[in-house]
């Protein structure tokens, strides 16, 4: 069993006003950018698994990918990672797995796939209070789990 990670981010998307993420604006001058972080557990041919997942997850023209499990963006005040909680329907994951399951003769087995959105908040301020505020507006406890670092 081996683990592959892909943090995918846009070549074209610049940081933008973080108030766009909130229901009501705050005075702190914060900006944000976001990425998508995929974790796959596989067995078999690692190169084939990596090639297949890169082909599915990454657009070579408009996106870049970080595969060494270090954060794709740096310098943030904090980063929120959130994804669909276990038991809730993750339609994106199901669509990817359906394509994988429909492909015959792949020399690897995709055992699990986890999809996480990462929101990097940049600027200065009270990390604890601000991250709580952003989590409250970005994440939905009915369907999401999340963490802040």
């Amino acid at each position: 069993m081996f683990k592959l990670t892909f943090e995918v981010f846009s070549r074209f998307q610049a940081v933008t006003d973080a108030n766009k993420l909130l229901y009501t604006p705050i005075a702190d001058k914060l900006t944000y950018n976001h990425t998508r972080y995929y974790t796959a557990e596989c067995e078999g041919d690692e190169k084939a698994a990596r090639d297949y997942l890169r082909r599915v997850l990454v657009d070579p023209i408009s996106q870049r990918v970080q595969e060494d499990d270090t954060p794709a963006l740096t310098g943030e005040l904090f980063c929120i990672s959130y994804g669909i909680k276990k038991g809730a329907l993750d339609l994106e994951k199901e669509a990817i797995l359906a394509n994988y399951a429909g492909r015959k003769g792949l020399p690897f087995t995709l055992k699990s796939l986890t999809i996480t959105q990462r929101i990097y908040i940049f600027g200065e301020g009270d990390k604890e209070a601000l991250s709580a505020r952003f989590c409250k507006d970005v994440c939905n406890p009915a369907i999401h789990t999340w963490s802040v670092r």
């Binding site: 846009s10 070549r11 074209f12 998307q13 933008t16 766009k20 082909r55 599915v56 997850l57 657009d59 023209i61 408009s62 996106q63 339609l91 994106e92 669509a95 990817i96 394509n99 429909g102 492909r103």
Partner: protein
């Protein structure tokens, strides 16, 4: 009578209007869900159409899962169809799918510069002179647009190449989504494969225009002439 195959994906939502436009232009039509599509369906068609919508909920990125599922169900049938002189036409989400299938010049459609879904009418300028889809249209005309991921981007220098070698079929007069070189529609060098972000099927009749007193054409909206142009080239 030329035959058009319209491939439908979960989330495609413009297939009815697009089929109506194809029929109005003279095509016999078949709407085929991708899960039951076979290379035989493609072999029977002179034109393969990808209509607008949000295939697979735009998960991962617009058009990606549709591309993967098309390859899974049809293999290289679309490439063979194209190599044998067949036509392909992609509208909005269909344009996104066609770019990912690699039949159109290499490009990608990403989130609008505004990072919002935008629904508006676009003024368009014809650029290519070899595009069968736009042959019957005036040099400038308007069509409705509705998309979130319509900003065309390319590898460095490619957009300029496409403009120079006749692969840019249409440009926006007002570049609301931030596309490189205002590109609204791309074609392959022959013009047989074309994709555009605005929706010609939504302006089939004069009464579809936002201005009830529009007098641009007595019988048809500008969108009709895309389908008629393809029909004239194929009949």
């Amino acid at each position: 009578m030329p035959h058009a195959l319209l491939l439908k994906y979960p989330g495609t939502n413009c297939d009815v209007e697009t089929e109506r436009a194809l029929s109005a232009a003279g095509f016999s039509t078949q709407v085929q869900p991708i899960a039951t599509a076979t290379p035989v369906h493609v072999e029977r068609a002179q034109l393969v159409v990808f209509s607008g919508g949000f295939s697979y909920g735009d998960y991962v990125m617009s058009g990606r899962l549709a591309q993967l599922e098309t390859e899974r169900f049809l293999g290289d049938a679309l490439q063979k169809h194209f190599d044998k002189g067949g036509f392909l036409f992609g509208i909005c989400n269909g344009f996104q799918i066609l770019t990912k299938l690699g039949i159109l010049p290499r490009a990608s459609l990403i989130w609008n510069k505004s990072e919002r879904f935008e629904c508006m009418w676009d003024r368009l300028v014809k650029v290519s002179t070899s595009c069968p889809y736009t042959q019957l249209l005036p040099d400038e005309f308007e069509l409705p647009s509705a998309h979130a991921e319509g900003r065309l981007v390319c590898d460095p220098g490619d957009a300029e190449k496409y403009l120079a070698n006749g692969c840019v079929a249409l440009q926006y007069a007002d570049n609301h989504n931030g596309s490189e070189l205002r590109i609204a529609g791309l074609q392959d060098p022959t013009g047989r494969a074309m994709g555009l972000m605005p929706h010609p099927e939504r302006f089939l009749l004069p009464r579809h225009h936002y201005d009830p007193d529009w007098t641009g054409d007595p019988d048809w909206g500008w969108g009709y002439y895309f389908f008629k142009g393809a029909f004239e080239a194929l009949k």
